[in-house]
Assembly symmetry: C2
């Protein structure tokens, strides 16, 4: 898919089929995260790929709105050495979600309680968890967003200024 098409059409998805992601496809998604640029090439992102169904179900139960995560084919947990790297996490996450979308795989970021998740996954102390992103093949039967809400965005004119605010 053309890059701009993918960027404009992609939206966050949470309704997945019970279909695993092939190893080769998962590797491309991870490569996309790895190749994202970072401030001074500091490469702050580490990824924990969770596919174990029991772990996914425990993650889904951590927050009231997390149920969809139990049906993800894989969840990627972003781990970083400090808290100042949100921008670089976002760059890598977008690369990964666009790569997935390019192959028919939906995705959505989520926030889970950090301490509980770190303990469950054995994340060493001194590292920080940012987002979790769930990935899965989109279930077309259950993925019909309310048209009034889907991808609603502020008009470009409201968010862009030229030369001065």
């Amino acid at each position: 898919m053309d890059t701009y098409d993918a960027i404009i059409k992609k939206r966050d998805r949470r309704h997945f089929l019970a279909r695993p992601i092939p190893e080769e496809t998962l590797r491309r998604i991870l490569q996309a995260g790895r190749m994202a640029g970072s401030s001074k090439n500091s490469q702050p992102n580490r990824f924990v790929v969770v596919r174990d169904r029991e772990l996914l179900e425990r993650m889904a139960a951590m927050v009231p709105v997390g149920k969809w995560l139990s049906t993800a084919a894989a969840a990627v947990v972003f781990v970083q050495e400090g808290r100042a790297h949100g921008f670089d996490a976002g760059r890598a996450a977008q690369n990964m979600m666009l790569t997935a979308f390019n192959e028919g795989i939906g995705s959505c970021p989520a926030h889970l309680p950090e301490a509980a998740l770190a303990q469950m996954l054995g994340i060493p102390e001194g590292l920080f968890l940012d987002r979790v992103i769930g990935f899965g093949y989109v279930d077309p039967e259950r993925d019909r967003p309310p048209s009034a809400v889907a991808r609603q965005r502020l008009p470009l004119e409201d968010i862009v200024h030229y030369d001065r605010w």
Copy 2:
């Protein structure tokens, strides 16, 4: 260009030709930023597009490594309402830089001193500046990275864990 190709091939660029970015192309870059998803669709990003040459030169003079910014065709300053939205800024920034790359336009993020930049651009109090991204057509004559450094990344095996750390 195919989405995955663009994601894997893109790297940050800082050597630009003195060639303006057409309005339509700039609009696509901004649309790509606008359409990026954000936490709870909060849409925290605002963009100040700087094309005025004098302003670009003043921005370039703000940091010792900023000279390249004076040759950018445009710089986009990311403005947000709070400091907790780095991840969403990164998502939008990556969309914008990939869209640019898809059209032969290079880009690179930069950090500039916030207070000085906010004053120069008339950013209202209570808003925060995150990154600045410079965009421009890449100058092939001056854009030959040292091959040993270009896009050096840690091996995938060193940054990915499966199911547990």
